[in-house]
Symmetry: C2
Subunit: 748 residues, 2 copies
């Protein structure tokens, strides 16, 4: 209970700090009249889009909630709505703050001419979304705890209409997580379609059909692109990472509850004979077999200690997440109140390092408080802690280190400072086909190191702390999500700020500042994508581990996802194919929307006076069209992710679904990295050429044209497909966890 109160206090503290910052941001000056005007169009466009999106999402959420309450567990409809609500709050507030921060960042640059102060304004906007993600995510967990009256390991629940015995705690957390998941899915798919259809259609109009410069304001689709940055890169990203954050907390709790039930079954009800059986089944808990085999008669002694320990095991993740949020508050607060240097890159890194550093430090304290005094080393060994009380902390640190390193690797593969991107730019002299082929190679090559890191961290965490260790590593990576999302959100804010400066023809020295911030923002965005994928990989593996336990409720059994079993392997390869199919759907939707928007934009351009710059085109119509297209194409792929595990489960059973999840995850991780990194590298290769780095092949040359082709191909990859793949696998896994018991009861 004390833990919950402490976490609630931290959460409220964070929300108070966010409110303070939000007011501070709004009170800042917006600058000259045309800046106010363009910022207003962006803000209203973004708000209109979100409103339209939520009129579609809301009924879906309500229907699904009703189904859950009727057929799964009475309170799970409510927790599902809480999840959708928390996610929506975080991304709506995050997006609003970004649409306030963009123009104020431009104005700070114009007013102060100081890189440091401009960085601080952009980061002020970014920190609001980052802290909202962590705070709302945690708030939901605490709310569910308080309303439901705590976590009851051995309670049994059921729905209003039908009843499949299940653990209400597990159901509340999976449905909460699923609520976040569904919103994230809708946001990412609609947002990606919105922003890239606008972006690509501008490209068609400017480059293919009319031979105009990029981002020319006569093309009405350009403004929709500005809005899209806020919709996809802020709202989409917030809900994506909130989902990962919540999913890992849920998975940790589910795994702790399963461990508790598994062991308690033995201790309380069955006595020695079952203990023998448990000892044989060595993979139930990594160490329990050997340990229990020896002390079969001493169960009564350890029983109480063990029960206490297992309760602490499901409190630890929540405490760790809360302390991570506290760490982020300190890191971001320091960045906000200090005087910033003119090196934004270093300042942002510093904020991240302070946040991560405090999280590591606090985490050690949390592990000591939770596990140091709970019993002998032997008791810890019973639940698989190989290195004593410090074990889960080591796993969390492994997660944090992996997260940071994946970010650095992503930077290596996508930044103009390093060879991979430079080589794409150099080969552009040989034409389009070479740019694409080289970019494909860079994208594929860039998968190895991040995945080796994830794999080795999983291996080490599992070896140190069993399945609980895997969940803890995932949570470690996400514990300072407040800081990573803040830094990530810095990117689109700076990007928008630059766009506004450009559109309002501000002084060149203002643009120098916003360009500098934009360049830094591109790198942080790439790092953020790497981090999102890495955390999704960890989260999904935790969810799959939890799924295996969730299929059997109240029984001393679990399914085995054995890939030498024909059912599992059939599911596995089909799961991989679904990832490809999902990617294809999103890609096709984007280019179809782009073509429709290009035709409409073309009609605007052919109105008299528009091409001469005398008459402004109808921006609003284009913005509305982008929204309409995006929302029309959002439903099918989103629903697919929810429906596939259910339908597959009822036809082929729970093992098949398990295989499906594994296959989808194993394929989606490298695919998502490929999409993100090849897209990022294409984008920067084009910038590298534009910077004049390759002599004789600057802007306007054939090589530049080839690089622009690469950039356009990369747009769909990095901002539509890549970012949606991690939600796809997380959503499927969360759905499977929610319905595991039902499917097994019906189909077996």
């Amino acid at each position: 209970m004390l833990v919950y109160v402490a976490v609630l206090v931290i959460t409220l503290l964070a929300l108070a700090y966010v409110t303070m910052n939000f007011i501070k941001l709004r009170n800042m000056e917006e600058g000259q009249i045309d800046m106010v005007e363009i910022a207003g169009i962006i803000r209203r466009g973004a708000r209109t889009f979100m409103r339209a999106e939520y009129t579609i999402i809301a009924p879906v959420v309500l229907v699904v909630a009703a189904i859950f309450s009727c057929f799964i567990e009475k309170s799970s409809g409510f927790t599902f709505i809480v999840g959708a609500g928390m996610s929506s709050l975080a991304c709506v507030i995050g997006m609003r703050s970004a649409t306030y921060a963009n123009v104020r960042t431009t104005n700070t640059a114009a007013r102060t001419k100081s890189i440091g102060e401009t960085t601080q304004t952009a980061l002020l906007g970014g920190s609001i979304s980052g802290l909202c993600v962590a705070a709302f995510g945690l708030l939901g967990v605490v709310l569910i705890y308080l309303v439901a009256g705590g976590i009851k390991n051995d309670a049994v629940g059921g729905g209003y209409v039908a009843s499949f015995p299940c653990n209400p705690t597990i159901m509340r957390f999976t449905t909460y997580s699923l609520g976040c998941s569904l919103v994230a899915m809708f946001n990412r798919i609609a947002g990606g379609n919105y922003t890239k259809a606008a972006d690509i259609s501008s490209d068609i109009l400017a480059k293919i059909r009319h031979d105009m410069p990029e981002d020319d304001s006569r093309v009405p689709n350009v403004i929709a692109d500005f809005i899209g940055d806020n919709v996809n890169d802020i709202a989409g990203n917030c809900s994506d990472l909130l989902e990962s954050f919540v999913a890992t907390i849920s998975a940790s709790i589910m795994i702790a509850v399963s461990l508790f039930n598994g062991i308690k079954d033995v201790i309380v009800f069955h006595g020695e004979e079952t203990a023998q059986k448990l000892a044989e089944s060595a993979d139930k808990l990594s160490e329990v077999g050997a340990a229990m085999g020896i002390n079969a008669s001493e169960f009564a002694d350890v029983s109480e200690k063990l029960e206490n320990l297992l309760t602490r095991m499901h409190l630890f993740p929540i405490l760790l997440a809360g302390l991570g949020l506290l760490g982020c508050l300190l890191g971001l607060g320091y960045a906000q109140f200090k005087k910033m240097s003119d090196n934004p890159s270093r300042e942002l890194d510093l904020a991240t390092w302070i946040s991560a550093g405090f999280t590591v430090l606090f985490g050690l304290g949390a592990a000591a408080i939770m596990f140091a005094g709970t019993g002998s080393v032997d008791t810890l060994k019973l639940v698989g802690f190989k290195l004593g009380f410090i074990s889960p902390w080591i796993c969390a640190v492994l997660g944090i280190i992996s997260g940071v390193l994946i970010g650095i690797i992503t930077e290596y593969y996508t930044s103009t400072d390093y060879k991979p991107t430079q080589k794409i730019a150099e080969i552009a002299t040989e034409g389009e086909a070479f740019v694409i082929t080289k970019g494909d190679a860079v994208g594929s090559r860039s998968c190895l190191l991040p995945i080796l890191l994830i794999g080795i961290s999983l291996f080490a965490s599992g070896a140190i702390c069993g399945v609980y260790g895997i969940a803890t590593a995932a949570l470690g990576m996400l514990s300072f999500v407040g800081a990573t999302v803040s830094i990530d959100a810095f990117g689109p804010i700076a990007d928008n700020a630059g766009g506004i400066a450009e559109a309002c023809h501000l002084d060149p020295d203002v643009r120098v500042i916003t360009d500098k911030l934009d360049a830094v923002g591109n790198t942080t965005a790439a790092i953020g994508k790497g981090f999102a994928i890495g955390s999704a990989a960890f989260a999904t593996v935790s969810l799959i581990v939890a799924y295996v336990e969730n299929c059997y409720f109240g029984e001393f059994a679990k399914i085995t996802l054995d890939f030498a079993d024909y059912i599992v392997v059939a599911g596995g390869i089909i799961g991989g194919a679904l990832v490809e199919y999902f990617s294809a759907m999103l890609t096709d939707n984007t280019i179809e929307s782009a073509r429709v928007m290009a035709d409409v934009g073309d009609a605007e351009l052919s109105k008299p006076g528009v091409l001469d710059g005398q008459v402004k085109p109808d921006y609003n119509m284009c913005v509305q069209l982008a929204a309409k297209q995006a929302l029309k194409k959002m439903l099918v792929p989103s629903v697919l992710a929810v429906v596939i595990p259910v339908v597959a489960g009822f036809i082929f059973g729970v093992k098949f679904v398990g295989g499906l999840l594994v296959g989808a995850t194993v394929v989606a991780i490298p695919r998502a990295i490929f999409m993100g990194n090849s897209g990022g590298a294409f984008d920067n290769a084009k910038k590298y050429i534009e910077s004049g780095a390759i002599e004789g092949h600057g802007k306007g040359t054939a090589a530049h044209k080839a690089a622009v082709t690469g950039d356009t191909v990369g747009d769909t990859r990095k901002d539509v497909v890549g970012v949606a793949l991690d939600i796809f696998i997380k959503t499927m896994s969360t759905v499977a966890n929610t319905l595991a018991v039902v499917i097994r009861s019906v189909r077996g």
Copy 2:
């Protein structure tokens, strides 16, 4: 024994038929003097390349063979050499016959002006390689049997120097299969690099640097491209499918031996108590638990019947393969001796259907002979035959049907007759980026149906006939490999024939015939690729199932590839990343070689008189350079596939390696389909535009240029990466099977 003699007779019959056809082919006229000359250059170039390749392969094979004999099993070095030898024989003879058949096909067209007779000549060449693949693959199996004195289920073997107890039968078949695998790996990687570096460098020279028409004979790289078709599409394809064929036979035998040992352990040595244990472990054999649980005291009665049955279970795959070869002899023989119509597509289909039909019919007979009389229905149920003696036959038929359907689906996604390819062509009007993005979407979308087919066939086969069913389905798909490879080889022969007609400026009506054959050949090549990937998927799953059993020799135990186990899941995601990395290496190697060759070709073109067509460029130098580049870049990726499972095994253990294989397979299957189909669709979209099907956007327009970019991107995908991925996973799986016992003994 009778089975072996029968199969040997069929094999020798096939080889006699091949010899007869080879002589018949050589005795045909080559045509006018310039045709003889160009065909000679191609033939010598191909032969020189193969010779150079084998001077590298031979020592590698000998060293590996020595290691196997010393450390694994005494005779396994010999069987490894036999594997490498059989594979080499099949692809060398296949390639030689193709380099004889190409010019003779052109000449038949010139001489007879009959499409039917020309088709017959091309198919004569193709059938030699197809029948060689099946005959040599089987010959090796029979040879090993005869030299080793039969399959001994319970023998124990070891190496000359170190000794890890293993089953000599299993070792002989895995090393035989590995010999085939290694040769296939080298062939595919070197062949892909050779042909595509030549092809792409011709494109750079013609389209980017000099603005010349495609395939212009002034560009010296063009001739290397002709040779490359024979090296990659004939030799590479032959060794690839021979490998799949042999791997599935080996996997079936290994699974049968494992089943035998598992059950025999119980029956002969342990009696009732262990039987109880076996009954508990329900997944050892699908039905054995229930069946044995009931009749624990009746073991002695069924013991003899069961032993007999299990011996027949490892004879059945060999018989099925032999009868499949007989079916192909009938199908291809009919096509050779009948009078052909002017519809080559229908004639080739007919040959395939006759071969497949006889295989299905003979397979039913084989199942009846082998399993109908061996004991009661109960005995068959003990080994998991749910539907009586007909069970393995049903699985084989499922495999055959999947193979044919995958071919049809591949055709749908890559042929100009259907929407996917047409849409790529249509969107070419919007520029390069759209062509690539749409092609990516088509490639990704095309994965679902073939993989659903594979998944459902696996599921059904497993349900009907357990793990043995999976191996039988794989073998079913490959049982008529003689016909599929023949039809597939038809493509490059027709392609070369067209090229020769073009280069020698033959009558337009000759070219009409060769163009017609070339178009049909494109489709059969695409179908062949789909078939190669499908069969590789089945083969690899069989190998993984066999691996699980192979890790424990002589013990009643097996590893569990449980993806909720941190060791397995870590291996799984890393396995997926390795596939991406391998793809990146091959892609980078190809474009690097292409750039080197382009520069050298450019130097030739700048010699006085070459660009005017007065002086012939130095073809030989270009051919040698292509070979040098290809061989230089062949070693690292090939060795990687062999080394990875070994190193990973010694560091992380057998479970990790199992995870690695699963992850690599799950990722490689959709990737290979994506590469093949997107590449094929790009190629044909370009042809569709060239045919004038899109009004106002014919040859030479911007849309055509965009489609050409797609085609060049697709070249590396379909002919380098896609075709190598299936060998990558098969080789890793075969290596793992070979070394499973050693790794487990050393590392656990």
